[in-house]
Each structure stands twice: as C-alpha cells, then as structure tokens.
C-alpha cells in the first residue's frame, strides 16, 4: 500500500513539474507586462517584433491618422446629434431614415478608413507578424458594436 501511494505521489509531483514547464514554455511574460501597463505601442513593439525604426514609422502613421480619426469622430457625433434632434422633434419618418442612413454611411467610410490604416501598419511588419496583426485587429473593426462603448475594464484587467 505504501509503495502504491508513494508511486502515485511521485507521478503527481512529476505531473505538477511538467505542467509548470509546459506553462512556462508557452507563456509570454513580456506580453502580459505590456497588457498590464496598457501600453499599446509597447505591445506592437514586443508582440510583433518591431525594430525601433519600424516602431517609429508606426507611431508616425498613427499620428498622421489621428487627424482623420478626429474628423470622422466629429462627423459621426454631429450626424448622431442631428438624428437625436429629429427624434425629439418627432420629425418625419423619411428625414429620420435619411439621418440614420447618413450615420451608417459615415460609419462605413470610417470602417474603410481604419481598415486601410491598419493595413498600412501591417505592411511595416514582417509578413507573418502582419498577418497575425490583421487577424487580431480587422475582425474587431468589422464587428464593432456601435450601440455600446467597448468594455474598458477589459483593456486594463490583469
């Protein structure tokens, strides 16, 4: 009986050690650290193996895109406010539909613009990293839920 228990204990210990090694071999502490900090540029740097030159170029692209982003944001907000005003004033159905359609059109333009921007960013990476980056980012852009703000708690969890 004592040999049975002893052997089982040795195997259990071996399993715990193997599990730990398996975890350590597959985990990414650098990624976990940048996520904890919420530093997106550092994330691009470490997770997509960017050189300093590539990172500077990505920063420049993001900065140049910031103006476009700001403009699109303003236009969407204005169109949303206009539709809300129409709703409050019980405006006619055709005007409301036109306002909704305008917002939808702006969002579509915006989606195209941001997708083009991230493709430019991906082009700066190695082909493999670029593909991985686009696989992560593009579905999120396409599946954007315009009825709710993103879960910001998620972005700073852990």
């Amino acid at each position: 009986m004592k040999y049975l228990l002893g052997t089982a204990a040795v195997i259990a210990l071996l399993a715990v050690c193997t599990g730990f090694v398996g975890y350590r071999m597959n985990c990414d502490p650098a990624l976990h650290a940048v996520v904890a900090k919420g530093d997106t540029m550092e994330w691009l740097h470490t997770d997509f193996h960017l050189t300093d030159a590539q990172l500077s170029e990505v920063r420049r692209l993001h900065e140049s895109y910031a103006g476009t982003c700001e403009e699109h944001c303003r236009m969407i907000q204005e169109a949303t406010r206009a539709r809300k005003a129409l709703e409050l004033a019980h405006g006619d159905k055709a005007a409301l539909e036109a306002a909704t359609s305008k917002i939808q059109g702006l969002r579509t333009i915006c989606e195209g613009s941001i997708a083009a921007h991230v493709r430019k960013v991906a082009a700066l990476m190695s082909p493999e990293d670029g593909r991985r980056y686009l696989a992560l980012v593009l579905p999120k852009i396409a599946n954007f839920d315009h009825t709710a703000a993103p879960d910001l708690r998620l972005s700073h969890s852990n």
């Binding site: 259990a12 985990c27 949303t80 700073h156």
Partner: protein
C-alpha cells in the same frame, strides 16, 4: 411438516474433517509474512511496471498539455484585452461613443 429422511443431510451431519497436523504451520505463516514485507520499492515497480508506466504517461502528458493550454489561453486573453485598448485610441466610431 416434512418427515422424510434426507440421506445427504445425514451424511453431512456425520461428516468430520480430520486434517493431518502440520508441525510447521506457524513457522510457514511467519515465513510468508516476512517474505511479503521484504518487497522493496524497485521490486514493486518492476512487478507493476506496465500499469504505472501507462498511468505516468497519461497523467504527465495531460499535465504538460494543460499547462501549455493555460498559458496560451492567458496570452489570447491578454491580446484580446490590448486590442480593445488599441482600437479605443484608433477607431473614430469608438471615440464618437466615448466623447461627450
């Protein structure tokens, strides 16, 4: 009431076992006990090698796989979280929702 005589019952009733006495009985018992307690761990393992090897391969393999899967799942969750943060800064539609 059944009053018939059953010859088998009568035979069994009269049956007596008289085994020949074994003068070494006590000594044999202690000898077997001593033999059992003399089994070492390596001997035990050699005897049960197949079963324990199988158990070790399955349990250790499952533990390694679980550890790896756990780490990958954590990395996936980390990426999901940072992508949201990234797009909050980048996507005007998100900005339009967040700005007053």
């Amino acid at each position: 009431m059944n009053t018939t005589h059953d010859p088998l019952s009568e035979t069994l009733h009269g049956w007596r076992v008289t085994p020949p006495p074994n003068p070494n009985f006590r000594q044999d018992v202690w000898s077997r006990i001593a033999k059992q307690s003399g089994v070492t761990w390596p001997t035990y393992l050699r005897t049960h090698m197949a079963a324990w090897s199988m158990a070790a391969v399955v349990v250790v393999g499952a533990a390694g796989f679980t550890g790896g899967a756990l780490a990958k799942s954590q990395a996936r969750a980390d990426r999901e979280a940072i992508v949201v943060t990234y797009l909050v800064d980048l996507d005007p539609r998100v900005q339009a929702l967040l700005k007053p």
